[in-house]
């Protein structure tokens, strides 16, 4: 009867294992694309869940827990694993654990397994054999492991998919028969006393769970303050030395594991220097390694900068034609305007990022999969650490030169929260590709087209200077933030340098797919809302002056003999002046006047929030040259002749142009970046701080620059 009942329904299965154990491949093999990526509550660590059928009546809900080395956490990832496994009330607490271990590295991978076994949750050991083939003469006696550890062992191969059906069979078997492993660990007298008292006072049945409470009660979210106080008393009363107990436990476990591994692993390979060692002689070499690293960064940059421009242009054109088509099909009016200039423009603004996200994550996932990422960290650690950054931050900073959005998404692999946060905060200072149109228009006003020594173009040098200024600002801001953001945690490196592997294309594909999906559905929402709001600001005004504009232009058109285009441009130009955006531009004029900006530039600053390159389009509308041919050329000509009506001097003189350039370089004017920062930090706090500090930096820098040049 009991058997029949338990066969109905859902088995909660957790995948656990060390980083680099092949866990992700097993997860992908078990679930396919039937998976969901979210966040663990309160933290931004990917929470991957998926489901699959075990038989006709039973479904498994699989959670991929973050990689961990032990239940004594030194990272957020490890803390999550501990939190879930020590809390039976946790919705993610598993019925069955599938523990993934890399067969070529058993010694280290068996530590966490022995801890998990002591927790009294049914465990299956999935022995990942995928990389065994590359090691000649290396054999494992799985039967001996089963005998010694009292555990079911399934040999799996993430590459070929071997072992998947056996894992499913074992899960069902474990679930139906509830085989609870007997915790084999012998605690010393002190620990036994402590765990006994904890079991007596709290609702804990398992010895190891009790001792983990004694070690980690301060950081366990599911214990309330009364329970924490009780544990604290017990520890104080018994003089329980946590660090000593922890060292003793780990040593005792290895005392069992090391001889076990010696018995079950047959290693006949004589190869003294492995493939990885040979490759690392070059790849981590002080000089060659650094050159290769910089070259790889250049390829990443080139890829998201140049290669993605073709699909991006296609998306751009597709949305432009879609807008035209919609305008021609629907009657003129508010709804049509909302659909074309608000919704379609917003959607285009979301989808335009897909090529860059796809290409960056293709490359990042590839570097991660083959094992190069930890070499990148190794090579750059000493420099990056000085600025509160991580070796992986370099990938984000370089990608930020193309676009901050995928660059910020790529910070997820930075394990240390503070290093990750600093990277997120400073990446948008790197001069992204959306600033280029602004630079091209303004640099012409700021400096003359002159050549030095026949080859150095002065304008080119200034643009290069802007890029360097952006990068310098990013590094210095990181340094300042490092001083401000102090953490309790000590920063360790102690990093595994995994052996090089062929990438699993399926893993790479799934990563890219998930990243794009996450961006479109999560950051996309925010971008669409802001886009519609900006449309509203530019299309509506506080009074009925918007309507009067058309009549006014109509009368002027007949007296001045304007053609169709001229009329349209005049209407657009005058409408934006009396719109909310126009009023806002005028309202902020007193604030931006010290920087040399007028209200027209004020409007552009506001609309640029959609994306910086909107600056050019807005200027075209304001100066009513919108629909006549090539935007950029006509705008430049029009701006060049713009004269201040009061002083009679050119508006875009050197001082103002430089000031605007610097403002666009530093200011946070990108809703998409803010949306992705919100999504990656899980709060509006950080994007708000970013908006304030970057715009503040821009304001002060522009103020200084304007006063130097005027």
């Amino acid at each position: 009867m009991k058997e029949v009942l338990s066969r109905q329904g859902l088995v909660k299965v957790a995948l656990i294992g060390n980083p680099n154990s092949g866990k992700t491949s097993v997860f992908n093999r078990l679930t396919g694309l039937n998976q969901k990526v979210g966040n663990f509550p309160g933290v931004t660590v990917d929470k991957k869940t998926g489901s699959f059928n075990l038989d006709n009546n039973t479904q498994a809900k699989l959670i991929d827990l973050p990689g961990a080395y032990s239940l004594y956490p030194t990272s957020i990832d490890e803390r999550i694993v501990l939190d879930i496994l020590t809390n039976k009330e946790d919705p993610l607490y598993p019925d069955v654990i599938v523990y993934v271990a890399d067969a070529t590295n058993l010694e280290r991978h068996l530590l966490l397994l022995s801890q998990v076994q002591d927790l009294g949750i049914p465990v299956i050991l999935a022995l990942n054999m995928a990389d065994l083939a590359s090691k000649g003469g290396y054999k494992i006696d799985s039967a001996a492991i089963t005998k010694k550890l009292g555990i079911s062992v399934v040999e799996t191969n993430g590459r070929s998919g071997g072992g998947v059906s056996e894992i499913k069979k074992e899960i069902l078997n474990k679930f139906n028969h509830k085989v609870i492993p007997s915790g084999g660990f012998k605690f010393d007298n002190g620990s036994t006393k402590v765990l006994g008292e904890i079991k007596g006072k709290l609702k804990v049945e398992n010895d190891y769970q009790a001792i983990l409470y004694a070690h980690h009660y301060q950081n366990l979210g599911h214990l309330n303050s009364d329970e924490k106080a009780v544990i604290e008393d017990i520890i104080a009363k018994n003089n329980f030395s946590r660090i000593k107990a922890q060292v003793d436990e780990t040593m005792a476990r290895f005392d069992k594991i090391v001889p076990l591994v010696e018995k079950v692993v047959v290693n006949n390979s004589n190869a003294e220097t492995s493939f990885t060692e040979k490759l690392d002689k070059i790849l981590t070499h002080k000089v060659f390694g650094s050159i290769i690293f910089i070259s790889i960064l250049m390829v990443v940059f080139q890829a998201i900068f140049a290669w993605s421009s073709y699909p991006m242009d296609l998306i751009d054109e597709a949305f432009a034609s879609l807008t035209e088509l919609t305008k021609s099909l629907l009657p003129e009016g508010v709804i049509t305007s909302l659909i074309t200039d608000g919704i379609i423009a917003g959607l285009g603004g979301v989808l335009i990022f897909i090529p860059q996200i796809t290409i960056l994550f293709l490359l990042v996932a590839l570097l991660e999969e083959v094992g190069y990422m930890s070499r990148a960290v190794f090579l750059s650690d000493s420099i990056m650490r000085k600025f509160g950054l991580n070796g992986r931050s370099i990938v984000s900073l370089i990608s930020g030169v193309a676009c901050a959005v995928p660059a910020i998404m790529a910070t997820r692999s930075i394990g240390d929260w503070r290093e990750r946060l600093i990277t997120i905060m400073v990446t948008p200072l790197m001069s992204c590709s959306a600033r280029i149109p602004v630079f091209t228009v303004l640099v012409g006003f700021a400096v003359p087209q002159e050549y030095y020594f026949g080859i150095f173009n002065l304008q080119g040098l200034v643009v290069m200077g802007l890029y360097i200024a952006g990068a310098t600002a990013a590094i210095l801001s990181a340094y300042v933030m490092k001083q401000i953001l102090k953490t309790r945690e000590i920063s360790y490196l102690v990093m595994e340098l995994p052996t090089y592997k062929m990438p699993h294309w399926k893993n790479v594909g799934i990563t890219v797919f998930e990243k794009v999906k996450t961006f479109v559905f999560e950051a996309g929402k925010i971008i669409l809302i802001i886009s519609i709001f900006l449309w509203f600001l530019a299309s509506y005004g506080p009074s009925d002056r918007m309507e009067q504009v058309e009549k006014q232009v109509a009368t002027e058109a007949t007296t001045n003999n304007w053609d169709e285009t001229k009329i349209e441009d005049e209407i657009a130009s005058r409408k934006i002046e009396v719109s909310y955006a126009g009023y806002l531009g005028k309202a902020i004029e007193p604030i931006i006047e010290p920087l040399g900006f007028d209200w027209k530039m004020g409007i552009a600053l506001i609309t640029s929030f959609a994306a910086r390159e909107v600056f050019v389009g807005t200027m075209a509308t304001i100066y009513s040259v919108g629909s006549s041919g090539d935007d950029e050329q006509s705008v430049v000509q029009r701006m060049a002749t713009e004269v201040n009506p009061e002083t009679g001097e050119l508006v875009y003189d050197q001082a103002t142009s430089f000031s605007l350039l610097v403002f666009y370089l530093f200011a946070m004017q990108c809703m998409s970046t803010l949306a992705i920062v919100k999504r990656e930090t899980k709060s509006w706090k950080w994007p708000t701080i970013q908006l304030v500090y970057m715009t503040g930096l821009a304001y002060i820098s522009s103020l200084v620059v304007f006063n130097i040049f005027s």
Binding site: Y69, S70, Y72, T74, N105, E107, R108, L111, I243, K244, Q246, V247, T250, M251, F254, V258, T276, E277, D280, T284, H285, K286, G289, S290, S374, V377, F378, L379, D381, S382, I383, I490, Y492, L493, V494, M495, E496, L497, P498, T499
Partner: protein, 72 residues
């Protein structure tokens, strides 16, 4: 007393124990077991971190962390 940060490139040593207790658990978990052989393969640009071979594993360690690994 010799510590792992004093190894020369190519030099080997046997791990005896650790100085810092908090760090010692992390090191143990990563495979720095007393009695294991540790070899300095190379150092990164600017001399830090260290590229070590511990047993069969390859690990990167900063100098200030390697100071805690006492060798026989």
């Amino acid at each position: 007393m010799k510590t792992a940060d004093l190894l020369k490139v190519g030099e080997k040593g046997i791990i005896q124990k650790f100085l810092d207790e908090t760090l010692s658990v992390k090191l143990l978990e990563m495979g720095f077991l007393p009695g294991s052989e540790v070899k300095l393969i190379r150092t990164a640009p600017f001399g830090c971190p260290l590229y070590l071979k511990v047993g069969k594993n390859f690990l990167a360690l900063r100098r200030k962390e390697a100071v805690n690994v006492i060798l026989k």
